[in-house]
């Protein structure tokens, strides 16, 4: 007999095979981190099979099995290898296997060269991800599955990594999207992730076998796979035993090795159980109960004044914080005493929670209390404001600042760790100075601990407490949650206790916030008066870890989790008291509207959320139309003001202007087009160089065909051939752009390799980044279609004009037989056209600046790369900016107005050098502000961001960074921009 034990990230599977490969025993259970114990326990249950003293050959497999195998001395079989073995045996005609596990996703291709792939270190879309999403929706996984089967539409959800997807889902929920649709969209994201992240250019066709827990148990997930890959019953195989395939495979692979008595195997496994590894050097959070009590007492002191809610009669103010996962609400007196609070998961529907709470408040306080003002903040701000006719909506940062001031008037640093996000901001001269939000890759926040607690079978409160006195907290690193998952796996493997893991998670979250979000070296950098807040800080382990890490004592208000709401309520008080109110200077965007719905009006309250596609332009944004009783209406998910109808503000926008100009560079121009059609993908540095190449080719009598306008669909079109899932989104889009040119059937596609950019005399060197420079070569190697097409990717250097003129003459003579003189003329003309284009952009910018000054508007310099003008890359941030009443110009339009200057970093990339100069230019102009667009995964911006910040701060300007990816969610962007506007008093 043979024994296979598969120890995965969340489950243990044990099988016993007969000598004829018959399954005699199988077990499948979650191990709740008790990895070795559970494996031994399962095996013990099979002992009856060996009552006659039979021998067996054992093998262990699985991602968490390696450690157990090492400790016990039992042989290890790699799990993908094991799975391939069993599929080859049982389903010999399979073309590919897709297996999703707790944390791993795998694809095995058979035939035509066996290939086996596992997800990289940055990839979520797996079982653990689905668990996390279910928690988010407040349903069980089976319920999630059922919901998904009733969906009507699919929302685009970022598929790369679980954390990203999460921040896509949150706003959909908060804005009233239906759970059914969200559930199906989650499964679709898993499918996209698998196809994009793993297939990497190899088509998933033929007979596909689906394995692993999630694909065994979730019908909705299966359905998405079948629909997306266009499979029929014959080509989609869901084998019985699918969840135990790796274990069976391990047993099969165990063949041929020496058999040993069952009791020996049992002994080896059990003796490994007791071995506890892991050399954590981390100090316990608290050594004694006394130490803890002193700590608790100190923090209990920061509490709001109390009022007797039972007897209070008079005015009150309502504050609501409609956060991403939770809804917070407070009702306070004009002195800030708390009358009523609510804190709860919004269960994906904040509107119904607020409705219930308002009714409760009216019932409870009746006529004794009259609500004089109300304000709402948070992700759901606009939805809630519109639903219940609140007085005002304010940006979160302002609400938090207002509340923090109440407890520590001199506060100069606030950190808020909520369920979904970390928000930090410094306060300088009474204004929010720099805002640091966790970018989507690192949100190791509250909900992460919660998901983990649940996965390990605990309630969050109990789980957190476990860590307080853990002797040796696990060292889990400090990165995004997906990485943390594997760190926890490692700790489990090393035999860490649940207590140690709990403490380790608290410490990780704190480290993540300090080193990843704030990036501080010491507490002095944060500030003198630090206020910490947010639900996660209610967890004493996190609070302790934070104070320990920064080496200072901080203020945690007793209403830590309610601070947003408390600040909103205070803002309502300030507004009611007029601008003269002492502490009022935060200047919220006061929009006077009818007051809060009354008790009577609530009785007739109705809310309907309807998903629609906006037809306003080619973006076809997915929007949600919320309609309430009495005709109140709120549209969410829109990127521009178009669907809102006329009257919406829209200021000049240089990005839009540039984009329009570039898109028009198509056709034969001044030439005849007789030499044929040249396809040019409008992406990456073509956003810079198209004016050059358009002139060049049309002068040579080619017709220029541009790739289709970028969109999510275009991205998906090329998604399968992306070999590196961590490259930036603009580069990923190139795959779709090339595909679209192949479809357009151009005679040739032209995309030169350009390590060097124009030298504008403002930097030490004039490089492009490595991705821009060489991506053409990657496309040539990975897109099957270009192998049959004429894909021209010569190395050209426009920085050396004479060299280019000569080299291009040679090249086009060889490729197309064009006489050298003709090419040389075209090249010269191209240089001229490029220069004209840049000076035209500069003069348009002048016009915009003048307009702004005339109208008294703020000018926002949006610094990034030329390709950030692509609406699919910037997701309409430019439109958002102009709808907020700011005049937008781009970095390239002002960069050349200053000469070069030494920098503290090697200033060697042309695009990046422009940003440094633009920042310097902004310093000289009081009415200009600066934001930087950063594509996720852009390595060079790891260097530019710190440098730009220091340039701007040296002149007392704010540095704002907007990080963008394939996520189509402007929530965080909006917070940043509105905070910026509030800070500059716009």
């Amino acid at each position: 007999m043979r024994i296979g034990i598969d120890i995965g990230s969340t489950t243990v599977k044990t099988v016993v095979l007969s000598d004829t490969d018959e399954v005699l025993f199988r077990a499948y259970e979650r191990h709740y981190s008790l990895v070795r114990q559970k494996a031994a326990e399962q095996l013990r249950r099979a002992s009856a099979l060996f009552s006659g003293g039979q021998h067996a050959v054992p093998a262990i497999t699985g991602s968490a099995g390696l450690g157990v195998a090492k400790a016990s001395g039992l042989p290890f079989v790699q799990e993908v290898y094991a799975t391939a073995a069993v599929v080859r045996e049982r389903l010999p005609d399979a073309d590919a296997v897709i297996e999703l596990g707790g944390e791993d996703a795998k694809i095995i291709f058979f035939g035509g060269g066996l290939e086996e792939r596992m997800n990289g270190t940055c990839a979520g879309g797996t079982g653990a991800f689905i668990d996390q999403m279910a928690t988010l929706l407040d349903v069980t996984v089976p319920q999630l599955d059922e919901l998904s089967l009733r969906h009507e539409k699919i929302y685009p959800i970022a598929s790369r990594c679980g954390v990203f997807a999460k921040s896509d889902i949150q706003p959909i929920l908060n804005q009233g999207g239906k759970k059914e649709d969200v559930a199906a969209s989650i499964f679709q994201a898993v499918v996209d992730q698998t196809v994009a992240g793993l297939a990497q250019g190899r088509e998933l066709t033929g007979k596909l076998v689906f394995l692993g827990g999630p694909l065994t148990f979730l019908k909705g997930l299966r359905e998405r796979f079948i629909a997306s890959l266009e499979l029929d019953d014959e080509h989609a195989i869901f084998p019985f035993d699918a969840e135990c395939f790796a274990a069976i495979g391990a047993a099969m692979c165990a063949n041929g090795k020496d058999a040993e008595p069952f009791t020996d195997i049992m002994d080896k496994l059990e003796s490994a159980v007791d071995e506890s590894g892991g050399e954590s050097a981390i100090e316990p959070l608290f050594r004694t109960q006394e130490e803890y009590e002193a700590f608790a007492r100190r923090h209990a002191a920061a509490a709001p004044p109390t009022a007797d809610a039972e007897t209070y009669a008079g005015d009150a103010y309502l504050g609501i914080d409609a956060g991403s996962t939770t809804t917070k609400l407070v009702l306070i007196t004009a002195e800030g005493s708390i009358l009523y609070t609510y804190y709860g998961n919004n269960k994906g529907n904040p509107v119904s929670i607020i409705l219930e709470q308002l009714q409760t408040i009216y019932d409870r306080f009746g006529s004794a209390v009259s609500i004089k003002g109300s304000a709402v903040t948070g992700y759901g701000e606009e939805l809630i404001k519109n639903a219940f006719n609140l007085d005002m909506g304010i940006v979160e940062t302002m609400a938090h600042l207002r509340a923090a001031r109440h407890f520590t008037p001199a506060v100069d640093f606030i950190i808020d760790i909520g369920g979904q996000d970390v928000k930090c901001f410094k306060i300088r001269n009474g204004a929010v100075d720099s805002i640091m939000l966790n970018e989507a890759c690192s949100s190791g926040c509250g909900s992460f601990i919660e998901t983990f607690a649940v996965a390990l079978g605990y309630k969050i409160g109990d789980f957190a407490k476990l860590g307080l006195f853990a002797g040796a907290p696990s060292d889990l690193g400090s990165r995004c949650t997906v990485f943390m998952n594997s760190s926890v796996k490692q700790a489990q493997k090393d035999g860490a206790t649940v207590e140690a893991i709990s403490a380790g998670l608290s410490i990780s979250i704190v480290k993540n916030a300090i080193y990843k979000v704030i990036r501080a070296a010491s507490a002095d950098e944060l500030g003198r008066s630090i206020v910490v807040q947010g639900g996660t800080f209610l967890n004493d382990a996190v609070l302790r870890a934070f104070e320990r890490e920064i080496g200072a004592e901080v203020t945690r208000p007793a209403i830590s989790e309610l601070m947003g709401a408390y600040g909103a309520a205070w803002t309502a008080i300030d507004a009611a008291g007029g601008a003269s109110h002492a502490e009022g200077g935060t200047g919220p965007n006061v929009e006077r509207s009818p007051t809060l719905l009354s008790s009577e009006e609530l009785k007739n309250f109705t809310h309907e959320a309807r998903p629609v596609s906006c037809g306003g332009c080619t973006n076809n944004c997915s929007m949600t139309v919320n309609t309430f009783d009495g005709g109140r209406r709120f549209i969410s998910g829109n990127r521009c003001s178009k669907p809102l109808g006329a009257g919406a503000s829209s200021e000049p926008n240089l990005m839009k202007h540039k984009y329009g100009k570039l898109r028009s560079m198509e056709g034969s121009g001044s030439g005849t087009g007789e030499r044929g059609r040249v396809g040019i993908p409008l992406g990456l540095n073509m956003f810079e160089n198209l004016p050059f190449w358009f002139e060049f080719f049309t002068k040579l009598n080619f017709e220029v065909v541009l790739s289709r306008e970028s969109s999510r669909q275009l991205y998906i079109l090329g998604q399968r051939t992306i070999p590196s899932d961590t490259v930036c989104y603009p580069a990923k889009l190139m795959h779709g752009q090339i595909e679209s040119l192949l479809e357009a059937d151009a005679d040739a596609i032209f995309l030169p390799c350009m390590p060097y950019n124009f030298n504008e005399g403002i930097s030490d060197n004039s490089y492009n980044c490595p991705v821009v420079a060489y991506y053409p070569e990657l496309l040539a190697a990975n897109i099957p279609g270009v192998k049959k097409a004429r894909f021209l990717i010569p190395y050209f250097g426009l920085h050396k004009k004479r060299g280019f003129i000569r080299k291009s003459a040679e090249y086009f003579n060889k490729e197309f037989g064009i006489p050298a003189n003709e090419t040389k003329k075209a090249a010269k003309s191209a240089y001229k056209a490029y220069a004209e284009f840049t000076s035209e952009i500069e003069s348009v910018a002048d016009g915009y600046i003048e307009h702004a000054r005339r109208e008294g508007k703020h000018i926002l310099v949006v610094a990034g790369r030329p390709y950030h003008s692509d609406p699919e890359v910037n997701h309409g941030i430019d439109e958002l900016i102009s709808s907020l009443g700011l005049v937008l110009i781009t970095e390239d339009a002002i960069a050349r107005r200053l000469g070069g200057e030494p920098r503290r970093v090697l200033n060697q990339w042309t695009y990046q050098a422009r940003m440094y100069n633009a920042a310097r230019y902004v310093l000289e102009h009081g009415d200009m502000q600066f934001v930087q667009l950063v594509s996720f995964g852009c390595g060079t911006d790891a260097i530019t961001t710190d440098e730009l910040r220091s340039i701007l701060e040296s002149g007392g300007k704010l540095y704002t960074q907007l990080k963008i990816d394939d996520i189509n969610n402007l929530g965080a962007v909006r917070i940043r921009l509105r905070s910026l506007i509030a800070a500059i008093g716009g």
Partner: protein, 424 residues
């Protein structure tokens, strides 16, 4: 503390006085090679301390002082240096830091600046940082690479490559455990000693010494069967070589019963020199530059040829490839203009490994490494198309990536290797 002198851009210089009084701390990348290079510097009057620390707190320190999205090697190297400064082992007013700077469009050219920023952040901007580069970046009155120094460093590099290459072929099969390491250590010491006496550095002497080294390694007793799967290691230069960067990858492969094959540093150096020649070919520029680079390239290629010929004196050893072989192999895959980071060389090394029967390859890179999107991960598909039996796994290294995850992937590659007949 020496007097602090700055240049006109405000950069703290490493002065002659510092050369006399200060100890320069340098990170380690290739244990054998860097030991010899250190010795060369010492011959010229520098006091050098090579850091071999490898505990977890290096990463923590790096995370604290460097932008977290910066490449992992920068994080490690800077973390290691800052940690050493903070260790209390050195008089902080009597140390300088030595760091290499490649130049070129990759982020790596910026390590030195990030290091300075980190020092500033730690309140120790009085510590001078010295750039070692061949691009003429950042000169210092107290530090210079004369032609003689460069030639000696080149010699150290060649010897280092040879010893590592031979060790990797002996170690998996040695009958007496540890005997290969003993030989390697003996030779490192002996060469360092020879350098000290000004010996073993001329071309002719080098050839003789290399033949002697090969002869000596051939005496290590090994099993007759060379049946272990050979696994090549390519990648971003730091995580490819440095055990600190790749979690001891070579040792892991040895423990898993494989024979690691690690292409040497020499090709990388020639590659970097050759880039200058190519730039002039592709875009035009100063012919003199091309000429000078060409001379230098041919010089190192000559040394490399000597090394290959030395290995060929013992048929039991597989010789390494030559730079010119790599240049031929890459045609049709990537242009010679692909020069940032490891550029076309990385793909060429994979091709060479495949062509010489090492079809199992670990392609290492720091998480999010920009050039490797193209030359590493970006070329695997194509290699797989052209060589269906190639077996390549790309591994990302990063402060958060756990060893278990990396090892699991490498194990999968090894499991597949086991199913194929071992090459060559």
């Amino acid at each position: 503390m020496a007097q602090l002198v700055y240049d006109k851009t405000g950069r703290l210089l490493f002065t002659k006085e510092m050369k006399r009084d200060y100890t320069l701390l340098m990170p380690q990348m290739l244990p054998v090679t860097f030991t010899m290079m250190k010795k060369v510097f010492e011959l010229y009057g520098y006091k050098i301390e090579m850091l071999t620390t490898n505990h977890r707190s290096i990463v923590e320190t790096g995370l604290k002082y460097v932008h977290n999205d910066t490449c992992y090697p920068a994080l490690l190297v800077i973390g290691q240096l800052i940690e050493a400064i903070n260790s209390g082992k050195y008089d902080v007013h009597k140390i300088g830091l030595l760091i290499s700077q490649t130049g070129g469009g990759c982020r790596a050219s910026n390590y030195i600046h990030l290091l300075r920023k980190a020092l500033e952040k730690a309140g120790m901007s009085y510590i001078p940082v010295v750039s070692v580069n061949l691009s003429g970046l950042e000169s210092n009155p107290g530090f210079g690479l004369s032609l003689q120094v460069i030639r000696r460093l080149a010699a150290g590099m060649i010897y280092g490559d040879l010893i590592v290459w031979l060790s990797n072929q002996c170690k998996p099969y040695e009958l007496e455990k540890g005997s290969t390491d003993t030989h390697a250590a003996m030779w490192t010491e002996r060469l360092v000693d020879m350098f000290g006496r000004g010996r073993g550095l001329r071309k002719k002497e080098m050839r003789a010494t290399m033949v002697e080294i090969v002869e000596d390694f051939s005496k290590i007793e090994t099993s007759d069967k060379r049946d272990k799967p050979r696994v090549g290691i390519v990648g971003e230069i730091y995580v490819k070589y440095a055990p600190l960067g790749n979690n001891g990858l070579e040792q892991f492969l040895l423990d898993e019963g494989c024979e690691p094959v690690v292409p040497g540093l020499t090709d990388f150096m020639i590659f970097k020199i050759n880039n200058r020649v190519v730039d002039v070919d592709l875009y035009r520029g100063y012919r003199v530059k091309k000429l000078v680079a060409g001379v230098f390239q041919r010089y190192i290629e000559g040394l490399q040829r000597g090394m290959v010929e030395a290995v060929e004196t013992k048929p039991a050893f597989r010789p390494m490839g030559k730079f010119s072989d790599l240049q031929k192999l890459i045609r049709g895959y990537l242009g010679y203009g692909n020069k940032m980071g490891e550029g076309w060389l990385l793909t060429a090394e994979m091709l060479e490994l495949i062509h010489t029967g090492t079809k199992n390859i670990v392609c290492t890179q720091p998480f999010g490494c920009l050039p490797n999107h193209v030359v590493g991960k970006g070329m695997i598909r194509r290699l797989k198309d052209d060589y269906p039996d190639s077996n390549i796994v790309a591994i990302d290294y990063d402060p958060g990536a756990t060893r278990i995850n990396q090892e699991n992937r490498i194990k999968l590659m090894i499991a597949n290797a086991g199913r194929q007949p071992t090459g060559g």
